[in-house]
Amino acid sequence: MSSLLPKPKYSNYEPPKWGIYHQRTSSSSSILVPSLQSSTTIIDNTNAPKNTIQKLHLNDDGSINYNATLATVNADPHQRVQATYDDTVSLKARFPRLKHSFPRYDLATCPDDTLKQCVIDTQRTIDAILKQKLGHTAVDNDTATLSSGTNEILVSTYREDPLLPPKFRLRKNRHSGSPSVPAPILKKTSEANITKEDRDKWRIPAAISNWKNNQGFTISIDKRMQAAHGGEGSSSAEDVNFTKFSQVSMALQQAETEAREELNQKRDLMKQLEEKKQRERELQLKALAEESRTRSKRHYNGDNTKYHKRRHH
């Protein structure tokens, strides 16, 4: 790993050059080799200690290509990696006279048998995995006989309705994270710092409701206005007409006190009426009681022998 570190800034140390120098000539008669990843040289770092990187990618001038080397640490060393500045420039920008012709081949039109081979290989891979996962092929899955001596045991698999809903509910994602080294990131960073306007644009105001205020906080008028308009549009203090607002609130307050007074008066009147009625009823009851008392006295005086007799016998 230490050999992969770049050369210190002001040192005379020259990093070891691996491989061969490839000279590029710009004359049109020479052959230009495409700058594909596969064309860079890969060498074995076999005599290195165990925990160091085993495959080193080299640039054309023989120095180590750190991007490609690090990007393929855990992977196949021949894996393509886009790690250079050239990869960030589009082909049409690099080659302005590039004609747009990239035909897609299918099995019938492909000039060689690479597509066919690819399909066959994939089918073979899939078949191998399926065989491993399903255990048996479909034919001998149904019944299998085990014969041991005289006894013969018939083992048959339980047939299931393929349309039954799944028995197990999957809840947790067991597959997260990448198994490979993260790829080199080829994107422009935003060079401009975020301005205050940008930050304000992203600021989300706290939610205010005109209906619920459980904690009983005082909410300023502009916030109430904003909430009344569905949280849209900014309403500053200037937008609120304070004189009118105070007039409205005064009027509301006055109306409220008037209403309360009226209510009080009505309640007093009702109370008085009630008391009067009560008094009348009491008088009536008193009179009734008086009358009944006098009547009973008369009755007692008139014929009381029977009563006496019953009492003494």
Partner: protein, 390 residues
Amino acid sequence: MMIKKLAGHRKDLLPPTDELSEATYKSVRLDYLTRLPSSQGSSGDIDTATSLVADVNIDEDADEVANINTDMIPSSNDIQWELQRVMASAHDGWVRSVAMDPVTNDWFVTGGSDAAIKVWDLTTLKLKAVISGHILGVRSLAVSPRYPYLFSGSEDKTVRCWDLERTHAPEGCQIRDYHGHVGGIYTMSLHPELDLLFTGGRDQVIRVWDIRSRTEVMTLLGHSSDITSIESQIGDPQIISSSMDSTIRLWDLRKQSTLLTLTHHTKSIRLMKLHPKEATMCSGDSNGNFKQWLSSPGGELLSEFTSTNELSRIINSVSINPNNVLFAGFDDGTLEFYNYVSGKLIQRTKSIPSPGSRDSAIYDSTFDMSGSRLITCEGDKSIKIWKEVE
């Protein structure tokens, strides 16, 4: 070494003096990047490349060299598009996904947030069938070109297979389900040759299903956020996926591993689509950036351009026409049509939301197989059909 060998090969193939400019010369060489469908290692790779280059006829005339295959691709320059028909309240919720019948081009299916899948006739725009069974919104649909099957993935974490020949059967037409996802399914793709289904979504992995046995054959790990689109092709890379972690991954299906990670995008990619005829693809991120790539194992960046739409930068949907029209649908309902080759903006319109909804985000879109109609699925519960202006 290898390079020297290659140089030696090339010297024999080319005439000793050529007056091609370096750029054209390089573009000729680029052809073999796309003509190389599979690559196993490194050295064998280069050998096949040189053998392929041998049959490219290099002439004195530079234009002819580059025009080898251009006659295959018709170019429709700057044709404007107009709204043909609005299917208002086609679903009882957002219309989240659409898939065209690849064989007859007669009908299309849409899936909505109301958990229903609806089959529509393309010409009459009449409802042919309603397929119910999902519990949550249907986010992805795929119609098999070889079987009468429809595959659907939903936010309720289920992938289901429907038999389209029995859509009116009283017992329902679901014939299979693929159990294993632990998050909503946002996208799916069918392998063009093999019986494989690729699904991905909220749980950050791509699952490869054997369609017949319902077995999860492989689990492809690597993305660190939701997977937003999966595309599949015959040669390597057989699967290409884009993710909310703003990367695109090219996968080697045989080794079950990532072939290449493309980290050029700065924001999450909501959609990536393969060109129906070319070996290229286009991805759009949430910052209004489009990037075109070669869908070869090298994954070279072909070109990039940015939308100038000021209102919304979030590209929700991308569709590519066989006639090289690139459609982009934005989150605020803006539609943009680009020339796929030059990246030039042809037209920008805004979809008018149906009465009752404020905005109509374009959630999914597809061209029909001929490329003359565009179907957009919108947030105002409507499906809109667009056609070229005559």
